[in-house]
């Protein structure tokens, strides 16, 4: 249907720079998630695509066409809002059909001479009915939004977007008002729907789990800049910097500051041997080898008893502060001297709170970040 492209887009609210020269190229039928902490500019970026905000400089393309000066109503996009924006004075049928009654569209696509016209009543009805069937809400059509549950409201909001058959879907944290279980369910539905309809979609969320599960690609954003744009695997396994590494993944990555002495990563409490090729790469790229940060995800730290290749070079003796049983695995908050980090270990672990304990780091999965630039030195 349509590609979306943002080229050198800058957005400034009086003095505040919200979007700082962002570039992204979204392919047809792709679902790209803008993810980032609140206030990072992800919603603003989406509103720039929607035409609800004017860009200060730069170019926004939809379908190869520059849309900077095109008003929102003519961009042929549909948007789902965080609070759904269902009009309380209309019933579900009217809410879904609302967007169809506004503009003239090219209805008779087979007829080359046909001019755009407004949809007739029956045509609107048919489209609403079909959208309702896709979303499994045909029995709710006569109700008012206030008589619907959160999940149903969400479906209606989706219905309002899909009934228009737009070029681009924009979704601004559409699931954040739902409870956890429903959110997971709707997430799946949403993905299914997007694949079914094949509409280019931009999805904004602050929830990295949503981003990971939904996105064809993830655009991780901070301080008005896309820190990294890539597939979920790329963003998870090869984060370009400390921010992306810390933001993606739950529980988040452990960061341990230290310095490099040859192949060895040294902290005040313990030292770890890096694989040789990784160490050379790090030393080559680092601005200052004495100031680096080691990053490792909790799931890459294992109880010595269950670790694959325990050795003195990758084992750290720690004191267990907190032990949380998640059923599938056990979460440990541990402490060595003044260094705190978390580990996710096998349920068979014998670790008890207050006792000393040995943990093994999976050295192939660690990341070393530059202390000053915070860039990932290991990729």
């Amino acid at each position: 249907m349509a590609q979306v492209k943002m080229k050198n887009v800058v957005k400034q609210f009086s003095e505040k720079l919200v979007l700082d020269n962002i570039n992204i190229d979204i392919a047809d039928k792709e679902l790209v998630v803008f993810v980032g902490p609140s206030g990072c500019g992800k919603s603003t970026a989406m509103r720039c695509v929607a035409g609800l905000e004017e860009v200060t400089s730069g170019v926004v393309y939809i379908d190869e066409k520059v849309v900077n000066t095109v008003p929102a109503k003519d961009r042929d996009i549909a948007m789902v809002f965080q609070n759904y924006a269902l009009y309380p004075h209309m019933n579900v049928r009217d809410n879904i059909g609302f967007g169809l009654k506004a503009r003239k569209i090219l209805v008779d696509k087979d007829d080359p001479k046909a001019v755009p016209r407004k949809l007739r009543h029956a045509e609107v009805e048919a489209k609403v009915q079909r959208a309702a069937e896709i979303l499994k809400i045909p029995d709710l059509l006569e109700r008012k939004p206030s008589e619907l549950s959160g999940g149903q409201q969400q479906r209606v909001a989706m219905g309002r977007a899909i009934v228009r058959e737009p070029k681009v879907f924009l979704m601004d944290e559409p699931l954040s008002n739902l409870d956890a279980k429903l959110r997971a369910h709707m997430r799946t539905e949403l993905k299914r729907l997007q694949i079914e309809l094949g509409v280019t979609t931009i999805y904004v969320t602050h929830d990295q789990a949503e981003a990971m599960t939904l996105g064809d690609r993830i655009a991780c954003m901070n301080d008005g800049i896309f820190q990294q744009i890539g597939t979920p695997e790329e963003v998870y396994d090869k984060p370009v910097n400390k921010f992306v590494a810390g933001f993606i993944g739950s529980p988040s990555m452990n960061f341990i500051s230290g310095k490099l002495e040859g192949d060895t990563f040294v902290t005040s409490a313990f030292s770890l041997d890096l694989p040789t090729d990784m160490a050379t790469k790090v030393i080559k790229n680092a601005t200052n080898p004495d100031e680096v940060v080691l990053g490792i995800r909790p799931e890459d730290i294992e109880d010595r008893e269950f670790a694959l290749n325990p050795s003195s070079a990758n084992t750290v003796s720690v004191k267990v502060m907190v032990r949380e049983n998640y059923g599938s695995d056990i979460f440990l908050a541990v402490n060595v001297d003044s260094i705190d980090f978390n580990a996710r270990v096998n349920t068979g672990t014998k670790a008890r709170v207050g006792t000393d304990f040995d943990l093994v780091f999976d050295m192939s999965r660690i990341h070393i970040f530059d202390g000053s630039t915070e860039e990932n030195l290991t990729i």
Partner: protein, 774 residues
């Protein structure tokens, strides 16, 4: 053959089924018209005719005075245009060729420069046109639209209006023709009836008529009228009807559609368009447009109008050059047309309450017509239902039970109509006279039933009070037995009793007003406490008097014009309130939701204006209105109150609470800013708007000072009084007539009561304005 007729019947049935409510209303209207007595029908005709005449005259007056001035303006423009070129001619051929260079100083250097530049511009445009001509064909250059624009630029002096009109007619016809042609070519395989542009055709027809009439000057029209000995209006009507008929014939014959096609198209159209609203609109359109057409086309305005249309750019240019003259003209035209229109409507309104002093009683006027109407209505409806029933049973559509359910509406209406007819029949003047002896007076003691009921009324009231007390005590005891604290119960009861007694104290003046307005003068002289609880006898004489039904020896016909006053009050209060609400909502929306430079300042100013006490504004406002000529016109009462800072403030604050996402969503859905306002913001603001509406309608209904200041000074003040002023005058003239004054007071209060009663839900909602949730 048989199936054909059956199909036709079923089509008609479908048509009739299309809108039951419309049919019901139409049936009732038909039966109402059928049963009007000949004399009253003639009255209605003459009333209608006089109203239309008034309207026509009004338009003609406006046309004569103000269109004439536009006419002058256009004439001046053309004269100046021609003079300009004459002067240019002189400049070149007399002065410059004569080597008289002093001419620069004489004409002024700027004008001289313009003289130099103008030929260059003309040459350049000629060059452009020629280069275009050489590249493209002439036919593509001369589209009707371009021709029309070119025509508008050519100035036609008064003598040559007919030429311009004739060319315009040709262009219009050409436009329509090429349009249809283009449609037919672009959409192959469609019949003419499908592509036929209805609205354009009507527009072209009307324009052609208008222009045609301007070609034949009004003198010529009169000559024709003399020749065929017909009224001009009739010629006009015949022309319109004839054209309509011709167009219908033309469609049927030339569009090569079969009769059934026409029927189906017609049925579809009817199903879509045959709503009550549309019918009402059409009715209004006929009432307004016909006289308008008549006034414009026949009464001689047309040649001027055509002149103005043909020379529109020149007029616009002059408006730009002399804006103040134009604004002056517009203001006066606006005021006068408002007054004239209002006067016409006022006459009609006075006719709507058609009680003349010669009629013996209201009952005698209404009763026979109403009975017959109801009976005819019921009979027609029974026949209609029977027809449907027979048709359905013959075609075996559904069981009898189904059909009864389907016809429930009709059966209900039939039963209600029959009951109403019976009641009205019973209440004929003779019965009334027999029962009460006087058309306006109901003497309880003479009524066969009420004679026994009436003395029991005080007992009944006391019984209610005692019953209330007993219920309260029983409820209290029961609650205490249930285990609730007797302290709480007794204090609840006491608080409620206190509230009820305060309410009674508040209501007593109203009851007094109502009761005394139904009493005779003799009864009203007695001390209030010794009057008894019910008026005895119960009389409507006071109301009859204020509506001018009864003549008394101490009043002139001008004393009571309650109908007029009521009309004036409705106009003043209604116009102010409706526009105030609309304007406030618009202003509130802009101040709350739109970003622009100076918004905060504007909002602050709006709040600041509220600090100025209204009485400070009286003198400056009066002077301003006087200068604009609005003193002595209802518009003066309306105009200053259309914008009110408090309402704007209220709206702004409410609309701030509407989430921006609603507006953004609509924007993305493709709605324009005004549509968003109308479809989203207005419905969501109903709570606050209804409160504003009610507050303002009460305030303006009761407003006294401005009408007194502005209206009482004019020459026709008797026609301009609003109800509160009328009340004030009557009060000072008839001090002895307490009953009459109170009857008028009741008439003033009742509309407000009705509005409050109807709107109480909205008031409650508005007062406890809920937050909006997503």
């Amino acid at each position: 053959m048989e199936s054909d007729s059956k199909q036709t019947t079923s089509r008609i049935i479908n048509l009739l089924e299309a809108n039951k409510k419309v049919i019901l209303s139409l049936l009732f209207l038909i039966s109402l018209v059928l049963t009007l007595s000949p004399s009253r029908r003639i009255d209605t005709y003459s009333l209608f005719e006089s109203a239309i005449n008034l309207w026509t005259n009004a338009i003609r007056t406006i046309g004569d005075t103000y269109l004439a001035s536009f006419f002058e303006l256009a004439d001046i423009g053309i004269t100046r245009f021609i003079l300009f070129f004459q002067a240019m001619y002189d400049f070149y051929f007399q002065s410059l060729l004569g080597l008289d260079f002093d001419i620069f100083r004489q004409t002024g250097y700027i004008l001289a420069l313009i003289y130099f530049v103008t030929p260059l511009i003309i040459l350049y445009s000629c060059f452009k046109i020629f280069s275009y001509l050489s590249s493209g064909s002439i036919k593509s250059l001369l589209t009707p639209r371009r021709l029309a624009i070119a025509l508008l630029v050519i100035p036609f002096s008064t003598d040559f209006t007919w030429l311009g009109a004739a060319i315009l007619i040709l262009i219009l016809l050409f436009w329509l023709y090429s349009d249809i042609q283009e449609e037919l070519v672009s959409r192959k395989g469609t019949t003419l009836s499908e592509v036929f542009p209805w609205k354009k055709t009507v527009f072209v027809l009307i324009s052609v008529i208008v222009l045609f009439c301007s070609v034949i000057d009004s003198n010529y029209t009169n000559i024709i009228a003399n020749m065929v000995n017909l009224e001009p209006t009739l010629i006009m009507l015949a022309l319109i009807v004839g054209l309509l008929g011709i167009s219908i014939l033309w469609i049927i014959v030339f569009a090569s559609v079969t009769q059934s096609d026409v029927l189906t198209v017609f049925k579809e159209r009817v199903q879509v368009n045959f709503t009550f609203k549309n019918i009402l609109l059409m009715f209004l359109l006929i009432i307004i447009v016909l006289p308008l057409l008549d006034a414009i086309v026949i009464q001689g305005l047309i040649s001027r109008l055509a002149f103005i249309i043909i020379n529109l750019p020149w007029l616009i240019a002059l408006i730009i050059f002399e804006p103040f003259k134009f604004i002056d003209n517009m203001v006066i035209a606006l005021r006068d047309s408002f007054d004239v229109f209002l006067d016409a409507v006022r006459q009609i309104f006075r006719g709507i309450i058609p009680v003349s002093p010669t009629d013996e009683s209201i009952v005698r006027i209404i009763q026979p017509a109403l009975v017959i109407t109801l009976l005819v209505f019921v009979i027609i409806l029974i026949l209609y239902t029977l027809f449907l029933y027979v048709y359905d049973s013959r075609n075996k559509l559904g069981t009898t039970a189904d059909r009864i359910v389907e016809y429930k509406l009709y059966i209900q209406v039939i039963v209600i109509g029959a009951i109403l007819a019976a009641i009205t029949l019973y209440l004929n003047p003779d019965t009334f006279q027999d029962l009460y002896g006087d058309p306006y007076q109901l003497n309880w003691k003479q009524d066969p039933i009420l004679r026994f009921v009436f003395p029991a009324f005080p007992l009944f009231l006391i019984g209610i009070v005692i019953a209330l007390i007993v219920v309260a005590i029983v409820w209290g005891v029961a609650q205490v037995r249930k285990g609730r604290s007797w302290r709480i119960i007794s204090s609840t009861l006491l608080i409620n009793a206190l509230a009820v007694s305060i309410a009674v104290v508040m209501i007593v003046p109203f009851i007094w007003m109502l009761k005394n307005s139904f009493q005779t003068e003799g009864q009203n002289r007695v001390d209030f406490l010794s009057q008894g609880l019910l008026p005895d006898p119960f009389t409507t004489q006071n109301y009859a008097q204020i509506f001018g039904l009864v003549r008394t020896d101490y009043t002139t016909p001008d004393t009571y014009q309650v109908g007029t006053w009521l009309f004036n009050s409705i106009v003043a209060a209604g116009l102010v309130t409706v526009f105030l609400v609309i304007f406030s909502a618009m202003a509130g929306y802009v101040l709350a939701k739109r970003e622009f430079v100076g918004r905060r300042l504007l909002f602050t100013l709006t709040i600041a204006i509220q600090m100025v006490p209204p009485y400070v504004q009286v003198i400056p406002l009066y002077l301003e209105l006087d200068r604009m000529g609005f003193v002595g016109s209802l518009m003066g009462v309306v105009l200053p109150f259309l914008i009110q800072p408090f309402s704007i403030f209220l709206c702004t604050e409410f609309m701030r609470g509407i989430p921006d996402d609603y507006l953004d969503a609509a924007r993305i859905d493709g709605y324009s800013e005004f549509q968003i306002f109308r479809k989203i913001v207005l419905p969501l603001s109903i709570p606050v708007l209804s409160v504003m509406f009610i507050i303002n309608i009460i305030g303006n209904w009761n407003s006294f000072m401005w009408p007194l200041l502005l209206l009482e000074n004019s020459s026709n003040y008797l026609l301009l009084r609003t109800l509160p002023i009328g009340m004030y005058r009557i009060n000072s003239e008839l001090l002895e007539q307490v009953g009459v004054v109170l009857a008028l007071a009741t008439v003033i209060v009742v509309p407000i009561f009705v509005i409050l009663f109807l709107a109480q839900d909205y008031i409650k909602r508005g007062v406890s304005v809920e937050g909006l949730k997503g």
